[in-house]
C-alpha cells in the first residue's frame, strides 16, 4: 500500500531553434511527425505516462522557445524541471557548439539535482551529418551525461531517450519521494482526523478511512 503512488516529473527540452525539440515531443507523445517547422514561441507542454519499476510515472514535458531573445524568460522555467534534454542537430555543427552555452545556463538556473541527457537529433540525415557520433559521446562523457542519437523522423531511440531520463530522475528522487510520501500520508490522516470530529458517528469508520491514501 505504501508504495502506491503516482509520480509526476517535469522534463524540459532545450537546444537551439530548429534542432527538432518540438518534433521529438510530438513523436514521443503522439507518435506523429510533422515536417513543417513552426518555431515554438512560448512554452508548451504535454503529458505522458510511463511505468517504471511498477510505478506509474507521469511526465510533463516542456518544450521551450529556442530563440535567443526569449531566453531570459525561458530560463525562468528551468528551475521547475527535474530533468533536462540538451538537444542538438547532428547536421549542425553550430547547434552542437551551443550545447556548451545551454549546459552552463542549466548549471546556473536549474536545480542542483537536475538530471541531464544529451541528444543528437536527426540521425536519419546521414549525408548531411556534421557532428560525428564520437563527438557526441565525448561531450556527454565530459559532462557525465548519457547520450543518445535520435531521429524524430524515423522514431529512432525516442522512447529510449525519454525513458532513460525519466528513470534517472526517478532514481535521483527516490529517497525524497519515499519520505515525502510518508509525510504527506501523515498529514492527510491528521487533517482527516481533525475534520472528522463530529462526523465520526455517522460514518462507519475504518472502512472509509482506508481509502484516502
Amino acid at each position: 500500500m505504501a508504495k502506491q503512488y503516482d509520480v509526476l516529473f517535469r522534463l524540459l527540452l532545450l537546444g537551439d531553434s530548429g534542432v527538432g525539440k518540438t518534433c521529438l515531443l510530438c513523436r514521443f507523445t503522439d507518435n506523429e511527425f510533422h515536417p513543417s517547422h513552426i518555431s515554438t514561441i512560448g512554452v508548451d507542454f504535454k503529458m505522458k505516462t510511463l511505468v517504471i519499476d511498477g510505478i506509474k510515472v507521469r511526465i510533463q514535458i516542456w518544450d521551450t522557445a529556442g530563440q535567443e531573445r526569449y531566453q531570459t524568460i525561458t530560463k525562468q522555467y528551468y528551475r521547475r524541471a527535474q530533468g533536462i534534454f540538451l538537444v542538438y542537430d547532428i547536421t549542425s555543427e553550430r547547434s552542437f557548439q551551443h550545447i556548451m552555452k545551454w549546459a552552463s545556463d542549466v548549471d546556473e538556473y536549474a536545480p542542483d539535482k537536475v538530471q541531464k541527457i544529451l541528444v543528437g537529433n536527426k540521425s536519419d540525415e546521414v549525408d548531411k551529418r556534421q557532428v560525428a557520433t564520437e563527438q557526441g559521446i565525448k561531450l556527454a562523457e565530459a559532462y557525465g551525461m548519457d547520450f543518445f542519437e535520435t531521429s524524430a523522423f524515423t522514431n529512432h531511440n525516442i522512447t529510449e531517450t525519454f525513458t532513460r531520463l525519466a528513470e534517472q530522475v526517478l532514481a535521483a528522487n527516490k529517497k525524497d519521494l519515499d519520505l515525502l510520501w510518508m509525510s504527506i500520508n501523515d498529514e492527510f490522516n491528521l487533517a482527516a482526523l481533525e475534520e472528522e470530529e463530529g462526523l465520526c458517528d455517522s460514518v462507519t469508520g475504518d472502512q472509509r478511512k482506508g481509502c484516502w491514501c
Binding site: I73, Q76, Y77, Q82, L177, L180
Partner: protein, 905 residues
C-alpha cells in the same frame, strides 16, 4: 454540515443518499454552485445534481436538475493542472462523463470532498467489477421524466469517455444491445443553465491564487512544498480506476479462453464418520479433473461442533477425500473452510497451483436465530489465471413447507457473504462479483404436491422429467424467486434423499419422508458446459447419496504481449485525452511593431486569441521575474485577463502610450520600445508576444539642461549624442565646446509666439487646445518644421503647460522645493531661493515670470488675474517630490505670487 439529509428527503424510501457535497460546476462562461448527492438504490448508484437555495437543510432548499448514473458508461477523472499539482489544500477538479456528455466540477478541499469522491469511486469500481450483472437503473426513470430537457450535463465535444478510444469500437454494437433496459435520457440542451449571465463572472471563477501561478517564473528555493510538485497522489485513484475499467472492457482483446474441468461434489453425511472409500464418487471420471471442490453437510451433529465449531471429523473426512481423488494426477490442497457441519475443500492439480491466487474463504450462518452455523454457507473464492471464481457450499433450511425460508437463506448468504480485499480502497467482493459462481450443497428443496407413492412410482418408471416438474427448486427458479441467473443441468438420477442408512432403501422410518433432490449443483457464468451430473448410489454411509458434476469451464488467460499492448494503448489514449484537454489558443500575431511612437500619441494594435482547444480557457498576461507588472508602463493590454469559451475568441488591444513619466528614458534611448509579454493560460501553455517599435525623441520629457545644449531640433540629433550630453549634464564643469542657450529654444518659441499673438487672448491658459493641433505643435518643436508654430493660441498655451509638466526635473528642481515652502511668506526670501537655482533653471523661471506679468497687464482683455496664473503655474513649476497636500499647495501658490506681483509693487 451534512446536506445529504436535505437530499434524502427528496428520495423514495429504498433510496439512500450515501454522501453529499457542495461544489462548483464549471460551465463555459460561468461557475455555479450545485449540491451533489451519491444516491444508492438496489446496489446501483447515481449522482444526483441539485440546484440549491442556501446551505440545504430541507427538501425545499434543493431542486433536482440532473442525474448521472454510475454505469459502465460513466467515468470520472481528476483534471490535473501543472500549477496545482499535489498542492495540499488545493481544490480538486474532476471531470465526470456519462456517454457523450460531460461535466467539470470543482470540489473544495476537505474530507467531505474526499469522502464523496472515494464513495463515487467505490461505486464506480463496483460497476466495473460486475461483468455478469449489468445495472438497469430503472429506479431513476421516474426522476428523469421530470427533469427531461433541462439537464445540466452538456454535450461534450471531446468525450472523455471511453467511446473515442478506438480499440473499443468493435464492442460498441454488442454493448448497445445490452443497453435496452438502461435509462434513456435525452440530453438536455444546456441553454437553461447558461442563462443570461454576463461575462463579468469571470472574476468569480476563482482564478488561482497568484502565488501559485507566479511560481511559474519565480520560486526557486528547495522548500518541501517545492519538492511536493514532483509528486501527485493518487488522491482518489480516479485515473487508476479509469485504466482498470478500460482494461476490463477490452478484456476480449488480451485474453483467450482455455477449458479446465472442475469436479464438484456435495454430500450430506448425516454426522457419520467415513466408513467406506469415496472413490466411487470422487474418481468416477475417466480423466483426472483439474480442480476439485468437495462439499459436505452435517459433518458433525454434536453439541461440541455446534457450540465450539470444533470437530475431529474435519480431518477424517478430509483424509477420506484426499485418498479418493483421481489416482492419475497429483493434487494440492489449496483451502479448507468449515462452519459447524458445512465444509468445503478445494484441491487443484499440482501443475495449475501456480496460477491460483487471491484465495479467500468466508462463512455465513443462517441457522438458529438466523445466525447460527447449523445452517448457512461456506465459500471459497480464488482467481484462476484471469478468471475470478467463487464456490459456495450451502445447507439451507429443512422441511418441505419451508421453501420460502430456503429462498431467504439464499438471499441472506448472497448479501452477507463478503470476501475482504487486499487493497482496502476497493469495495469487498461479494459472491455475484465473480466471473464464475459454482453453488453446491444440500439445498433442501423438496417435491411438492405429490404423495410418497406417486413419487416412488415416477422414480421406478425413471420418469425424472415429470418428477422434476414438482421440484420446489425448479419451481422457485422458474418464478425467479431464487438463484437468479443460475443454471442446473438435467437430472437423470433418482432423488438423493432419504435412504435408510447403509442401504439403497427409501426411508422406512415413521416419518416416511417423500424422496427429494436435496443435493444439487448449480452454476452461473459464461462458457460453462456440464460433462456429467449424477448421484452415487454405491455410497451408503449416510441417509443422503453424494452427487457429483464435472463442469468444463472456459477460463480466461492473458496473452502477455497483447495485454501489454492493450494497457499501453489505454494509457496512451488517456494521455492523449489529457493532452487534448490542455487549454490552447492561437494568436493572430506573435510580433507587434509600433512605428514612430511619439510622446502622448496613442497607438494600438489588435491581438486576437482564438480558443482552438477542447476546453474553455482562462488567459492572463503574467509577470516576469523582478518585474512588478506584466509589462512596461508605456504598454497596456486590454483586457489583461479573461475567459474564452471553447471555439470562441477575444480581441486584446495592445496599446502604446508614452506619458511624462516614461518619456525621459525613451528620449535618451536608455529604454527602447521593446517588450515580451507572457500570455499564460490557466492549466496550460505560455505564449510569448514580442512588442517592438521605435520612439521619436521629443523635447517633452527632456531636461532643461539638455535642451539648452541643443541648437538643432531634438529629432535631428543622433541618440548617442543625446545620451552623451545628458550624462555630462550632471557635471557642471564639463568642457563644452559651445556656450549653452539661456533657455530651451522650444520654450522660447512657445512663449514668444504667445507674447506676440496672445497677450490679449480671452481666457488664455484657461481654455483647452485641440488635440490635433497639439500634436502638430510638438512635431514642429521636435523637428523644426514648419518654421513657425502652427495652431491656435489656446493650443500653444496648452503645449506650453504640457511642456512644463513633462520636464523630468521641474523648473524649480525638487531639491529646492522644501526651501520654497519655508520661505513662501517672504518675497525676498523667495527671490533668494530662485537665485540659487542652476543657471538655466533660473533663466527659465525668470523668463516665464516676466511673461506672465506681461499677461497680467492685459487682464482687462484676457481676463486673467494673479490668482488664476499663480494656481496654474505654481503647480507646474514647483512640483513636490512626493505627494502634495492642500497646505503645501497653498504655500507654492503664495511663493509664486510674489513673482507675479513684483513689477507692480
Amino acid at each position: 454540515m451534512d446536506q445529504s439529509v436535505a437530499i434524502q428527503e427528496t428520495l423514495e424510501k429504498e433510496e439512500n443518499c450515501i454522501t453529499a457535497v457542495q461544489c462548483d460546476i464549471l460551465f463555459d462562461k460561468i461557475t455555479e454552485s450545485r449540491l451533489l448527492g451519491l444516491v444508492e438504490s438496489a446496489k446501483e448508484h447515481a449522482i444526483f445534481i441539485y440546484t440549491h437555495r442556501r446551505m440545504a437543510i430541507t427538501a425545499d432548499d434543493v431542486s433536482l436538475e440532473d442525474i448521472i448514473p454510475v454505469s459502465l458508461d460513466f467515468a470520472i477523472v481528476e483534471v490535473s493542472s501543472p500549477e496545482e499539482l499535489a498542492v495540499v489544500g488545493a481544490d480538486t477538479r474532476v471531470r465526470v462523463s456519462y456517454r457523450d456528455e460531460e461535466l467539470e466540477l470543482r470540489l473544495p478541499f476537505g474530507s467531505n470532498s474526499r469522502l464523496f469522491l472515494s464513495e463515487v469511486n467505490r461505486a464506480w469500481s463496483e460497476v466495473c467489477k460486475s461483468p455478469i450483472q449489468k445495472p438497469k437503473f430503472e429506479w431513476i426513470n421516474k426522476y428523469t421524466n421530470a427533469i427531461r430537457g433541462h439537464g445540466v450535463v452538456k454535450q461534450t465535444i471531446a468525450p472523455l469517455g471511453i467511446r473515442n478510444i478506438k480499440l473499443n469500437q468493435h464492442l460498441e454494437t454488442e454493448k448497445s444491445l445490452d443497453k435496452k433496459g438502461d435509462l434513456e435520457r435525452e440530453n438536455g440542451s444546456n441553454s437553461g443553465t447558461q442563462k443570461s449571465r454576463v461575462y463579468s463572472s469571470v472574476e468569480s471563477r476563482g482564478i488561482p491564487n497568484r502565488d501559485d501561478r507566479d511560481d511559474l517564473v519565480r520560486s526557486s528555493s528547495h522548500t518541501p512544498s517545492n519538492k511536493a510538485q514532483i509528486l501527485t497522489m493518487p488522491q482518489f485513484g480516479l485515473r487508476d480506476n479509469l485504466i482498470r475499467c478500460e482494461l476490463l472492457k477490452n478484456e476480449e482483446l488480451y485474453t483467450y479462453l482455455e477449458n479446465y474441468s472442475f469436479f464438484l461434489g456435495t454430500y450430506n453425511v448425516n454426522g457419520q464418520t467415513p466408513k467406506e472409500s469415496l472413490r466411487p464418487w470422487l474418481s468416477c471420471t475417466l480423466d483426472p479433473p483439474d480442480i476439485y471442490c468437495v462439499g459436505f453437510q452435517e459433518l458433525d451433529l454434536s453439541k461440541e461442533a455446534f457450540f465450539f465449531n470444533d470437530t475431529p471429523k474435519e480431518l477424517e473426512w478430509m483424509q477420506a477425500v484426499s485418498e479418493a481423488l483421481h489416482p492419475d494426477a497429483k493434487y494440492a490442497l489449496v483451502k479448507l473452510v468449515r462452519l459447524v457441519g458445512i465444509m468445503l475443500i478445494f484441491y487443484v492439480k499440482k501443475e495449475h497451483a501456480e496460477f491460483i491466487s487471491d484465495v479467500e474463504a468466508e462463512t455465513v450462518g443462517t441457522g438458529i436465530m438466523g445466525r447460527m452455523g447449523n445452517k448457512g454457507a461456506v465459500a471459497i473464492r480464488f482467481r484462476f489465471h484471469h478468471s475470478d471464481i467463487c464456490v459456495v457450499n450451502s445447507h439451507l433450511a429443512a422441511h418441505i413447507e419451508e421453501y420460502e425460508r430456503r429462498n431467504q437463506d439464499y438471499k441472506d448468504i448472497c448479501s452477507r457473504l463478503q470476501f475482504r480485499q487486499l487493497d482496502p480502497t476497493q469495495p469487498p467482493f461479494t459472491i455475484m462479483k465473480h466471473n464464475v459462481v459454482l453453488w453446491i450443497g444440500d439445498l433442501n428443496y423438496r417435491i411438492s404436491d405429490l404423495d410418497v407413492d406417486d413419487v416412488k412410482e415416477l422414480i421406478s418408471k425413471k420418469d425424472f422429467e415429470t418428477l422434476h416438474s414438482f421440484d420446489q427448486l425448479k419451481r422457485q427458479i422458474d418464478k425467479e424467486a431464487v438463484f437468479d441467473g443460475f443454471v442446473e443441468g438435467e437430472i437423470h438420477f433418482q432423488p438423493t434423499y432419504k435412504y435408510d442408512t447403509g442401504s439403497d432403501m427409501w426411508d422406512t422410518s415413521e416419518k416416511c419422508r417423500v424422496p427429494a433432490w436435496c443435493d444439487r449443483i448449480l452454476w452461473k457464468g459464461k462458457n460453462i458446459k456440464q460433462k456429467h451430473y449424477q448421484s452415487h448410489m454405491a455410497l451408503k454411509t449416510s441417509d443422503h447419496k453424494p452427487v457429483s458434476s464435472v463442469l468444463v469451464i472456459g477460463i480466461k488467460r492473458i496473452n502477455g504481449e497483447t495485454y501489454k499492448k492493450t494497457f499501453e494503448e489505454i494509457v496512451r489514449n488517456i494521455d492523449k485525452m489529457e493532452n487534448e484537454c490542455i487549454p490552447s489558443v492561437t494568436l493572430s500575431k506573435r510580433e507587434f511593431d509600433f512605428k514612430d511612437v511619439k510622446f502622448m500619441q496613442h497607438q494600438a494594435e489588435t491581438l486576437s486569441l482564438f480558443n482552438d482547444g477542447q476546453v474553455p480557457c482562462q488567459f492572463e498576461f503574467i509577470q516576469k521575474p523582478n518585474e512588478s507588472t506584466y509589462c512596461k508602463p508605456w504598454l497596456t493590454a486590454n483586457p489583461p485577463k479573461g475567459f474564452i469559451a471553447q471555439g470562441g475568441s477575444v480581441d486584446i488591444e495592445l496599446e502604446v502610450f508614452v506619458n511624462c513619466s516614461t518619456a525621459p528614458e525613451l528620449n535618451l534611448g536608455k529604454q527602447q520600445i521593446e517588450e515580451i509579454l507572457v500570455l499564460h493560460l490557466e492549466r496550460g501553455k505560455d505564449y510569448f508576444i514580442s512588442v517592438t517599435g521605435n520612439y521619436l525623441p521629443s523635447c517633452y520629457g527632456t531636461s532643461i539642461h539638455l535642451l539648452c545644449q541643443l541648437r538643432e531640433p531634438i529629432q535631428d540629433m543622433p541618440q548617442e549624442t543625446l545620451r552623451e550630453l545628458a550624462e555630462m549634464s550632471g557635471d557642471e564643469n564639463a568642457e563644452n565646446s559651445e556656450k549653452p542657450l539661456d533657455i530651451p529654444k522650444e520654450l522660447w518659441m512657445m512663449v514668444d509666439h504667445l507674447f506676440r499673438n496672445a497677450v490679449k487672448q480671452e481666457d488664455i491658459f484657461q481654455q483647452p487646445g485641440l488635440r490635433s493641433e497639439l500634436a502638430e505643435i510638438m512635431d514642429c518643436l521636435d523637428t523644426g518644421i514648419p518654421d513657425s508654430l502652427p495652431g491656435s493660441n489656446h493650443s500653444v498655451a496648452e503645449a506650453l503647460l504640457l511642456f512644463l509638466d513633462a520636464l523630468p526635473e521641474p523648473v524649480v528642481p525638487y531639491c529646492f522645493y522644501q526651501q520654497c515652502l519655508e520661505s513662501c511668506s517672504s518675497a525676498s526670501q523667495c527671490e533668494r531661493v530662485i537665485s540659487m537655482l542652476p543657471q538655466c533653471h533660473q533663466n527659465v523661471f525668470n523668463y516665464l515670470a516676466a511673461f506672465l506679468r506681461e499677461l497680467l497687464k492685459n487682464s482687462a482683455s484676457n481676463r486673467l488675474d494673479v490668482n488664476i496664473l499663480a494656481t496654474t503655474f505654481a503647480s507646474l513649476l514647483l512640483r513636490s517630490p512626493t505627494k502634495q497636500d492642500f497646505a503645501e499647495k497653498r504655500k507654492t501658490r503664495e511663493f509664486f505670487q510674489h513673482f507675479l506681483t513684483q513689477g507692480s509693487s
